[in-house]
């Protein structure tokens, strides 16, 4: 009887903590948000240098979780000076009118080994439903969420006028992210 009791105690020690969504804050140093466009069918990588993610999430019980990402669009860097100058303009990101983009989701679900955050992306003033798949790796007080998905730049009016044609600059833009998080409070 005593032995069984001890055994139970041991089991309990290794059991998951009671389901409770934690608040997570982003660690900018370990985080990266990339967008990969194509240029004459060749990958042209870019990066938003400044962005922030806030997450309320319980990997074991994702219902009730929420994800809130703010992207400083004006921090976009495609590491080509001429291109960086061009993308500020009205035909592309239109820094002056739309300096910020947002992704908000209150619908996070488990999908096999990964998760999916369904939400709304507001980019260049256009709101579109977007599904963001991600993997979750946590170790104690820190965690990493990583994933990628593809957007159609035309849906957000990125590349207007003659740039709407997709033979030179492709329609698809791959978004790739790695977000390092720390448990907050």
């Amino acid at each position: 009887m005593k032995r069984i009791g001890l055994g139970l105690c041991g089991l309990l020690a290794f059991a998951p903590h009671p389901a409770q969504a934690a608040d997570w804050k982003m660690d900018p140093a370990g985080s990266k948000l990339e967008f990969i466009a194509t240029f004459e069918k060749t990958a042209a990588p870019g990066e938003f240098k400044e962005f922030d993610a806030r997450l309320r999430f319980d990997p074991d019980k994702p219902a009730g979780s929420s994800l809130d990402v703010t992207i400083k669009v004006t921090s976009a860097d495609m590491s080509i000076p001429d291109v960086n100058k061009e993308i500020r303009g009205k035909d592309w990101f239109d820094y002056a009118a739309f300096p910020q983009a947002e992704f908000r989701s209150t619908d996070l679900r488990r999908d096999g080994k990964r998760y999916v955050a369904r939400g709304t992306l507001t980019l260049k003033g256009v709101k579109q439903p977007v599904e963001v798949p991600f993997t979750w790796t946590s170790a104690g007080e820190s965690a990493v969420m990583e994933g990628e998905f593809t957007l159609k730049r035309g849906a957000f009016g990125i590349g207007l006028g003659e740039w709407a044609a997709t033979n030179v600059i492709g329609a698809d833009v791959k978004v790739k992210f790695k977000v390092k998080l720390r448990k907050a409070g």
């Binding site: 240029f39 004459e40 069918k41 060749t42 990958a43 042209a44 990588p45 590491s79 080509i80 000076p81 001429d82 061009e86 003659e162 740039w163 044609a165 033979n167 030179v168 600059i169």
Partner: protein, 184 residues
Amino acid sequence: MLRNTADSWGAPAKLFHWAMAALILAQIALGVMAASWRVSPAKIELFFWHKSTGMLIFALVALRLLWRLANPPPELPSGIAAWERAAARVSHLLLYTLMIALPVTGWIVNSASNIPFRIFWLIPLPAIVAPDKPTADLAALVHGGLAALLALALVAHIGAGLRHHFVKRNTVLVRMLPGTWRTP
């Protein structure tokens, strides 16, 4: 007749000459248009074709030089003055130098500008210098200057060919024409 002889060019040498002549003329037109076009998808397309054609010319000139090493060119006919021989030597050396230097400086511009590029959408072109705007600007300036020099060298080359034919009335021009030309 594949190999060059003492007084005429073989078929491969002629093919190299005329294929590259056509490519180089197209290349100059593409380069001038690409550089002067306003920023637009058309400009990117022009640069794409200019860069692809440039790397094709670069590959062809390497093969052409190998072929030339294995096949000494025909001799100049008699009745050519020493200064004309010297001018021919210098101008051909200049043409070959430019056929190498232009693709190389163009490659430097592309690398320093950090623009992703695949030759004819197929072969990724590796960077030969690190991304750096001043390097790109300088290389572009040199590239443009060399292109102007090439245009001058081509005028001299074509003028000299015509002079051989119409003034000196020798076989230098016709022996480079496609097919077999009876030497007078």
